[in-house]
């Protein structure tokens, strides 16, 4: 067997240009297939890591998935708010251990701003029930204090004590700014690998204060309340976007959910994060499977190309094969030679594909993190990817049987003097 491998390798080296290109084609298709799988699993993991210990997410009635997407992942926008007094009443319910109010809608240079209470830093959990930790500073104490997520601080180069200006609304450039009321960085959180890293945290009172002299989503012309006088006004929030709830006993979650869904004060809804996440995967799963199927097709195309190249090379190599037969190679040996060549090309393509993908992951990770909040983990290969790769190689071997069989037949029929 090993001398066939050597012979196949040496023979292939003679045709290195065409075979090299075939290896590249297989490698690129493998990059696509494994890349789809990698982004899928990393995105899922990122989402799952982002919320932990929260029993219910409460907000105005909308879809469960949407409520979770904007409260936890800051994707999309709220359709409606909930009133502050409704939140207060819920927070007093005896089953509830803690609540975190969330007020979204402003941004800072593309990063979402979250209005909340200091309780957020105490109760919020991510990953494997890990609490938030400060890399520097402390929770906001003054009215215009802000706590930055690790990535906000890193991307914009902020340090403790820097002054930042928030913008009204979420998204592009040219948003109206709250320039008259700058915030001071009072704390920077440690990296979590979750949307918290991309968030600017301020107090609910501050959210209220910067909108005091605003009406209908724009500053009232010719009127402004200077920052030093905002405390003269009532800074109790009127409404919040949503709230996270933790219960004393997690088994009581259905009862609490029922209570919130039936709440008479205003139409509210409560979702279990785990259930909403599963719902999201069911929807996204269709698209994921389609992508995976398409990239599977691309691998097939690559392998078809491989078969075509080896088959086409067969005609040029009839003399080579005849010589091998003359010096004593059996027809089965010829069969092995051709099949081994196919296997070699597939295996090389897979190895090259893995290396390319690794390079690509390392290169694209910072962009994926900052643009889409997806943490790509550079790694050589995971178990799920290994299964896909085994499948590719198996199909590659099967496909290589075709030129092998053809060479076997030819070597039997041709004898020493093939007509070319």
């Amino acid at each position: 067997m090993s001398h066939w491998l050597l012979l196949a390798a040496k023979s292939a080296w003679n045709r290195r240009l065409t075979l090299g290109l075939t290896v590249l084609a297989v490698a690129l298709s493998v990059v696509l297939l494994l890349g789809v799988e990698r982004v899928r699993s990393d995105a899922r993991e990122g989402f799952t890591q982002s919320v932990s210990g929260t029993d219910l997410i409460v907000g105005a009635r909308t879809s469960a998935v949407q409520l979770m997407l904007y409260t936890v992942f800051r994707i999309g926008e709220a359709t409606n708010n909930m009133r502050w007094d409704a939140y207060q009443e819920l927070a007093r319910h005896p089953l509830i251990a803690w609540t975190i109010p969330l007020s979204l809608g402003d941004s800072h240079r593309g990063f979402p701003v979250l209005g909340t209470t200091p309780g957020y830093f105490e109760h919020f959990r991510y990953g494997d029930s890990r609490p938030l930790a400060f890399a520097a500073g402390k929770p906001f104490a003054e009215l215009f204090d802000a706590v930055l997520g690790a990535q906000v601080a890193e991307a914009l180069g902020y340090r403790m004590g820097d002054r930042i200006v928030l913008s009204h609304g979420i998204g592009g450039i040219g948003l109206p700014e709250h320039a008259d009321k700058p915030f001071v960085v009072s704390g920077i959180l440690q990296r979590t690998g979750t949307p918290v890293d991309r968030t600017v945290h301020v107090s609910l009172a501050a959210i209220q204060a910067i909108h005091l002299d605003w009406q209908g989503g724009a500053p009232v012309p010719g009127f402004s309340i200077p920052a030093q006088y905002v405390r003269k006004f009532d800074l109790t929030p009127k409404e919040i976007t949503a709230a996270l709830i933790g219960l004393h006993s997690r088994a009581a979650v259905f009862k609490m959910q029922r209570y919130i869904d039936d709440y008479k004060g205003e139409p509210l809804m409560a979702v279990l994060p785990g259930v909403a996440l599963d719902e999201l995967w069911r929807v996204v799963g269709v698209a994921e499977n389609t992508l995976l199927a398409v990239s599977g097709m691309v691998v097939l195309v690559g392998l078809t190309g491989l078969v075509a190249v080896v088959l086409a090379g067969l005609n040029e190599r009839r003399r080579e094969i005849a010589v091998l037969r003359a010096v004593g190679a059996s027809p089965r040996g010829i069969f092995l030679l051709l099949t081994t060549e196919g296997l070699l090309v597939t295996a090389l393509g897979c190895v090259l594909g893995i290396l390319l993908l690794l390079a690509l992951t390392v290169a694209a990770a910072p962009l994926a993190q900052s643009r889409y909040g997806v943490a790509l983990h550079p790694r050589v290969i995971s178990l799920a990817e290994l299964r896909l790769l085994a499948l590719v190689i198996a199909v590659g071997v099967l496909a290589s049987l075709i030129p092998g069989y053809r060479a076997y037949r030819l070597s039997l029929a041709d004898g020493l003097a093939p007509r070319l």
Binding site: R44, P94, S249, F254, L272, G274, D278, G296
Partner: protein
Amino acid sequence: MPRLAFLLPLALSALLGTASATDEYRVGDRLPQAKAKPDAKSSYQTIRWEALVPEGWDPARDLRGINLAMLNDGDRRATEALEKMKKAWDEAPVEPAWNGQRVRLPGFVVPLERVKEDVTEFLLVPYFGACIHVPPPPANQIIHVFPAKPVKNLRTMDAVWVIGVLDTTRSEALKGGNEAMGMAVAGYRMTAEQISPYKGPAR
């Protein structure tokens, strides 16, 4: 070669797993249960969900005492009895005899916590769809399960068999809590040694 073209999509779909099992159930469906019996060969006993309700607990007791035919329309006593039943339902007690028992029972999963994609904490409920649209099951029909090790491929409303040790003591968060609250959150917890997909009789 054209024949080979079938192989990859086929194998791919086999790898990814086909449609989830949840599609087979409708809201309110229960899993067919085995007869309650101590299993001679193993150290656990297979139980029914009804066994988790203390014997003699009857939330509708007051309602049964009333002869509805004898009441006037809109009678206050009927409404009061109904309210009382709902309250009793809300404060459903647990059966302390189950504390420390090793049991096996089937149910539906509502995931609570995940590490990566594996479930590390979930609620087990007796009927399908317990978290949506339908009134929640009483506290003694919900089991808070802590798997010994994270469970792979577990999704909302998957049907599973769970084997583990029941715990009826109240959660530690309640120490010092008031009595009313303690009543409201009493329930079953379980440390699960084994969780396997439910494969019942053909439906």
